[in-house]
């Protein structure tokens, strides 16, 4: 992974079922829980390293990571 790459975190809130699997595993805390409903929310997009741990583990197709350049 090239240094300084930027990532965009796309969340489909209506798909998220608050299972906590993604943010409990995010190595950088780029994502976190919405305390209201435990759905995923962005904490700090700049922290995202594009490791895809969240995207691959989410059983509900609710979170996707994109490289900033390719939108």
């Amino acid at each position: 992974m090239a240094k300084g790459k930027k990532y965009i975190i796309k969340i489909k809130e209506d798909y998220c079922k608050s299972c906590r699997l993604c943010y409990s595993r995010c190595p950088t805390n780029a994502i976190t829980a919405n305390p209201k409903n435990m759905k995923v929310q962005i904490n700090d997009e700049d922290k995202c390293i594009g490791c895809l741990v969240c995207e691959n583990i989410c059983p509900d197709f609710a979170i996707e990571i994109f490289e900033a350049e390719d939108n």
Partner: protein, 271 residues
């Protein structure tokens, strides 16, 4: 970074599975594996039995068939023989494949017919409310094992290999990349492939066994994983109740429909 949209029936989402159910992870990993192998969508066919896991076929934008409890492989055999160009993938549960459908699993493996079977092993009957399955571990509680389960578990890898499958691998939902890779390898194999994916049913299994959240179940699965390379140096006692992961078998072997055409069809046409 992966675009699932090309492969899913979007209007069927969100899917019916419980929050945190590993079935969705296996579904997504299967999609990535199918994408990686690059098949034309019109030549892929998914078939399932009955159970939570078997609902997977409804979400994928391929030809699909949701059959009877346990019988998916038998339906798949007919489809493959009638239209060998189809790439046939079967989604099945531990009860579906190991109990009511056990005989079909054995014989599909014996024939080495070119079908890839993905077994969602959540150690329980999810859909019917948490009755014990052929892979419920001993001493665990199920709705039909209120005093703790006493039966021995099926070992899907030994079963598949013993019956003649040319590809057999086990992985878990805690490692989606590995699920994708093993399914991809299974799809590549021209023959019968079994990929057992150990999954979590925290709702029907975990809840009754002090693991009511998906995270607790993931931890339980993870702490029992022993990669095959390590397992080789361990004793049977040490391996008890562990989840050995890896590719157990991957060999080239004559495939059933090809053999049928090469031998029987050719001879019959000669007559």
């Amino acid at each position: 970074m992966f675009n699932y949209d090309k492969y899913i029936r979007k209007d069927k989402f969100p899917h019916i599975w419980c929050s945190g159910c590993g079935n969705g992870i296996i579904l997504k990993s299967s999609i990535r594996a199918i994408d990686k192998i690059g098949w034309d969508k019109n030549d892929v066919m998914t078939i399932s039995g009955i159970g939570c896991s078997s609902r997977a076929t409804g979400y994928l934008d391929f030809d699909s068939l949701h059959t009877l409890h346990g019988r998916a492989l038998a339906f798949a055999t007919g489809i493959k023989m009638a239209k060998p160009k189809m790439n046939v993938v079967v989604f099945t549960g531990d009860g579906d494949a190991g109990a009511i459908g056990g005989n079909h699993l054995i014989h599909a493996a014996r024939r080495n017919i070119d079908i890839t079977a993905v077994i969602f092993n959540n150690n329980i009957y999810g859909m019917t409310g948490g009755q014990y399955s052929p892979t419920t571990p001993q001493e665990f509680v199920a709705t039909t094992a209120p005093y703790g389960h006493i039966e021995n578990s099926f070992n899907f890898m030994e079963l598949a290999i013993g019956a003649g499958a040319s590809f057999a691998a086990r992985t878990t939902v805690t490692n989606p990349k590995q699920v994708e890779n093993f399914i991809h390898k299974g799809l590549e194999n021209k023959g019968f492939s079994v990929i057992e994916v150990v999954s979590n049913c925290h709702v029907q299994f975990g809840r009754r066994n002090e693991m009511k959240s998906p995270i607790q179940m993931f931890d339980w699965i993870k702490e029992r994983i022993i990669p095959m390379s390590k397992a080789e140096d361990m004793s049977e006692d040490e391996l008890e109740n562990k989840v050995i992961t890896g590719v157990f078998k991957n060999i080239e072997k004559p495939e059933y429909v090809e053999e049928y055409d090469k031998n029987i069809m050719a001879k019959a046409e000669g007559e």
